[in-house]
Symmetry: C2
Subunit: 324 residues, 2 copies
């Protein structure tokens, strides 16, 4: 019995990853052994909708509860995608909640893997929010983290733990620093970057949307298609090839917020693009404008991670995948 666990499995990325893994049917397990996916466990605070497969096991509960983790993570779990997180805006508003989910729950998961001793593959998602302060135009791989949000600080601490638990041989971790994902389907969320999907999604759905940052603000973006492909690629990479640290800054697409609206105009026309209103929001600006706009991602590219070619293509993919 080979089990795969996705935390945050009811989220948009979690569900999309689940579909992809079910279609794919296999993953490389501990020791580099190919494994058929017998069961895919989705853990989240709510049950995911729109998923149906006999291999699925849905578990709802608090990921920061070690007793739940002991029950969910057993010796048959060989692969873990740890996507559950309290997003940037929410972690800034509720410090304790962010620490509990982003830091403590991550550590509990790592501890549970260590306790079991079968070194599962562990994919952890981190973020551009670990960076801040004075940054060069293009970030090299060895630039210091300097979070200007609690979310970023918690993710950066998680990165350190995943690398150290891996170095100690407690599990086989890999942390992927994800660009901002755009275009996310669904509703706005509490992430400071929520607008980076909203300014495309809402206008395409005939609704107004607010761009809360300066038009020239550079964003470092990745489409859901590439995000899922890179999550699986990150899981499949050989540990020796990856080396230490286990953190990789993924490649992405640099585009200004103005450029995003221009691409929307190109793909969907003036009437749609004109639904974007520019209304600066200081709280969001102070977080988002501390994030970097471009990475060299030298190591990630050498490891075979991929990025989108143009933002217009990203919008077209969204229309194809998520608007039916």
């Amino acid at each position: 019995m080979y089990k795969v666990l996705i935390t945050g499995g009811a989220g948009f990325l979690g569900k999309r990853l689940a579909r992809q893994l079910l279609a794919r049917g296999e993953l490389t397990g501990p020791g580099g052994k190919p494994q058929k996916i017998d069961r895919l466990v989705l853990l989240d605070v709510v049950a995911p909708t729109d998923l149906d497969d006999p291999r699925l096991e849905i578990i709802t509960g608090d990921i920061a509860d070690p007793a739940l983790l002991r029950r969910v993570v057993d010796a048959e779990v060989g692969s873990i995608f740890h996507l559950a997180a309290v997003v940037s805006g929410a972690a800034e508003a509720d410090f304790d909640l962010g620490m509990r989910i982003n830091l403590d729950a991550t550590r509990s998961l790592l501890e549970r893997c260590r306790e079991l001793g079968h070194t599962p593959r562990f994919v952890f998602t981190s973020s551009v929010a670990v960076f801040g302060g004075k940054l060069p135009e293009v970030l090299p791989d060895d630039i210091a983290t300097m979070p200007m949000s609690s979310y970023g600080a918690q993710k950066a601490a998680g990165e350190l733990m995943v690398s150290d638990y891996s170095r100690k041989g407690f599990l086989d971790g890999r942390t992927l620093r994800m660009p901002t994902i755009s275009v996310r389907p669904g509703k706005p969320n509490a992430a400071a970057s929520s607008f980076a999907s909203g300014i495309v999604r809402e206008p395409l759905n005939g609704e107004p949307a607010v761009a809360p940052v300066a038009p020239g603000t550079r964003m470092w973006l990745m489409s859901p298609r590439h995000a899922i492909a890179n999550l699986i690629h990150g899981h499949e990479l050989d540990a020796q090839t990856l080396g230490l640290p286990r953190t990789v800054s993924l490649p992405g697409l640099t585009v200004t917020v103005q450029g995003m609206v221009d691409a929307l105009r190109e793909v969907a026309g003036d009437a749609v693009a004109d639904r974007v209103q520019w209304k600066p929001d200081e709280r969001i600006r102070s977080i988002v404008e501390s994030w970097p706009g471009a990475f060299a991602a030298t190591r990630a590219k050498a490891l075979g991670f991929t990025a989108d070619g143009s933002y217009a293509d990203v919008i077209r993919a969204y229309i194809e995948d998520d608007m039916g």
Copy 2:
């Protein structure tokens, strides 16, 4: 009543800092207000010896025990020097102990300060052990941490917390990344860098000592005199001047292990220097040789932190301060 707390107050640095603070008699408190030191609380697992002053309060106990911290850290504690740590070799040998003291106790202290709400000044010591992997000859201030030891990972995570708790206004933290301290008086300890004092101290005391790394290994060193001066300087700095992040890589002295023995020969003669034996130890080498040998320390120098001029002077200061 203004109280100053030193954790790890029975350690060699803690005691020396205590003496210096008692002699100095005052510190800058929260809000930049000058404060006479009414009480100096030394917290450690054992009581410090050789200290005597009516302002001293000695408390022994487990720093990872939140109940103890609630008792020790009260609203009158305006300055905290958090020096208590499980050193590199010990944290590598006992992972759980390192996590408990280096990470959990640090967080508990930060939480206690947050709970009190009077934003005490909080000086935290970090280490060159947060760095590792492929490093440039001279490390710039914005180079990524890449710990190759659990001690380094725990310190790096602590740095992130100190900066974020400070950014949130929960306290007024400052993290000083200390070079390896040499020459420490006393006995060898479980730090991988223990030899960096032992190869001077033991020969001066007529005993043999082992240099467990290659002669060409560069060390990044600081004498106890400069360490204490920099700890106090770090406390006194204005928060606005310091800015974010709150972590500063201190200046230091670059010297190879061979150069250390040469300086010993210069100061104390052949008979003493010949007591050093070269015996590579793989466990120590793998940790120590992952550490950087030189830092630009641009920010630290601009902030007024200082370093030793020559290792021969460091040895002379040791003879004067600790062998008198």
